[in-house]
């Protein structure tokens, strides 16, 4: 799997922002399709190691829309990037950009894609 910072297509990002602004209010830049699929896989498979592949929880808490609905987006993005000290949640900064973390959080809150 390639974890270098993904390339962003400005036009696609703008379009994605327009199309999905209801579900993903603050998405300013979206990863391209290939990186998007790889991020979905990362969340399902690798975040899933602790949060469950269905994101129903495990060693880490559930990441379902119900569980995350009332959590502020920025706090969730900060948790993804910075981790939660004192817990096994690691900082994903370095493997994910801020935009990618936001993209993931938006989808978690809306209902995460299967693939």
């Amino acid at each position: 799997m390639d974890y270098r910072i993904g390339r962003f297509r400005v036009l696609a990002a703008v379009l994605a922002g327009m199309v999905s602004c209801a579900a993903a209010p603050a998405a300013l830049a979206a990863p391209d399709d290939e990186r998007g699929r790889s991020l979905v896989r990362l969340v399902r498979q690798d975040c899933g190691a602790c949060h469950g592949m269905l994101l129903t929880g495990g060693l880490g808490p559930a990441l379902s829309p119900d569980a995350l609905r009332d959590r502020p987006r920025e706090a969730l993005v900060a948790t993804v990037l910075g981790g939660r000290p004192g817990t096994p949640m690691p900082p994903w900064r370095g493997l994910l950009t801020e935009d990618e973390a936001g993209w993931i959080v938006d989808r978690l809150q809306a209902g995460f894609p299967e693939r």
Binding site: M1, D46, A49, G52, T56, G57, G58, L95
Partner: protein, 396 residues
């Protein structure tokens, strides 16, 4: 010539009829050469055969198998598969059918089977605790909540392992305790608690002789240990502060512990958040060495004879596997078997190792003597690989 042909046809017909009867259990065969591969994304299990490196069948409909774990009945015929969603499935390796299945919890992390083979025990995150089942019928025999604090809190359970005397040992992640459950009378479990084991135990193991239980700690550098041979085991701490106070790296995947850590008189243990394997003398429990490795170790597994130790890694190094030669005392190979190598399993005598390359959708097979790739089988997002030879091993 004709007779040869006729015999071939007869053999083929016989083979076909036997295969056709497999569902009825008519085909005579053992299971010592069989195993299961978890297809985590599909809720399916492949039944595989070692010698032919082939798939005998697929069993579907087993729910959420992320982090699924399997143990085997003493006769090696049945695999008990513990799913993340709390499903416990008893699979018949011969007929490739589900012999029994129960939903026993909301969130489960694995299980174990008793020394006498009569009890199957699941370890659960939610509701936190263990549950004890009759291995034949999967009837619930005992429910042991992992309570702590004022008695209303429940902890996630990790590191469940079977120990001689129909005992099970496990750790309470949220409470930092180790418990021994004596299930010699399954409906009346006797619990011995060991508080103060350490912060956030993440997994545990029983040594192959059944004597020592070790719980790896995530919340601090060290390992909690119990000598189960003692009439009154005492908690002790080993490898305390192995991180020397240095900042650890972010841990993208928890390491896993089992009895495979032990090779000869040494145990090889993953250092949490470090690119190191810790080597401990199992007589003195003193650290006797460290092996610098390519990434953060997840599984550190001795080949059954103890001559080699194979190591896989957390992200972003999960495409690598390294082989440590315990005689020469050095890494002798750095392999790239595929993308996202999640798990490894040795054949019973260690001639081969099967490795799950999740993101390549295959299981890759290596000859351990020549460190050469000798085969592969297709599997969808494979994770755990479990061979029936585990049936005969304490702590598996």
């Amino acid at each position: 010539m004709l007779s040869v042909l006729l015999r071939a046809i007869a053999a083929l017909a016989l083979g076909t009829s036997l295969a056709g009867c497999a569902g009825g259990g008519a085909a005579l065969r053992g299971t010592g050469d069989l195993g299961v591969v978890i297809e985590r994304a599909d809720g399916a299990v492949l039944v595989v055969e070692n010698s032919t490196r082939s798939i005998l069948g697929r069993i579907d409909g087993l729910g959420d198998l992320s982090h699924a774990h399997a143990v085997f009945s003493r006769d090696g015929r049945y695999a008990y598969v513990f799913g993340r969603d709390g499903g416990l499935s008893k699979l018949d390796l011969l007929t490739r059918r589900v012999a029994a299945r129960v939903m026993q919890a909301g969130n489960s992390i694995g299980g174990a089977i008793s020394q006498d083979g009569r009890l199957v025990v699941a370890q659960n995150y939610d509701p936190g605790g263990i549950k004890v089942f009759d291995a034949g019928s999967l009837e619930l025999l005992a429910d042991i909540p992992a309570t702590h604090g004022d008695g209303t809190l429940r902890s996630k359970v990790v590191g469940l392992a079977d120990a001689p005397g129909n005992r099970f040992v496990f750790a309470l992640y949220d409470a930092g305790e180790i418990w021994i459950a004596d299930l010699s009378q399954p409906r009346s479990p006797r619990i011995t608690r060991f508080p103060g084991a350490g912060r956030q135990p993440y997994d545990g193991l029983v040594t192959p002789d059944g004597r020592h239980y070790l719980a790896g700690l995530f919340g601090e550098d060290g390992i909690a240990a119990l000598d189960l041979w003692q009439p009154q085991p005492q908690l002790r701490r080993i490898l305390s502060g192995y991180g020397r106070g240095e900042q650890r790296l972010p841990v993208f995947k928890m390491p896993h512990l089992r009895g495979w850590a032990v090779a000869g008189r040494r145990a090889y243990l993953p250092a949490v958040g470090r690119h190191e394997v810790l080597v401990v003398d199992t007589e003195t429990w003193q650290e006797v060495g460290r092996i610098p490795v390519k990434g953060q170790p997840v599984f550190v597994m001795a080949r059954p004879d103890g001559r080699q130790v194979w190591i896989n890694f957390a992200l972003p190094d999960n495409g690598w596997v390294q082989v440590f030669d315990t005689l020469g005392g050095k890494i002798v190979a750095s392999l790239q078997p595929g993308r996202a190598v999640l798990h490894m399993e040795f054949t019973a005598r260690g001639d081969e190792v099967w490795m799950s390359a999740r993101d390549d959708d295959r299981v890759v097979i290596y000859d351990t003597a020549h460190l050469a790739r000798v085969g592969e089988i297709a599997a969808r997002s494979p994770s755990g690989i479990f061979f029936a030879s585990r049936a005969a091993r304490i702590g598996f």
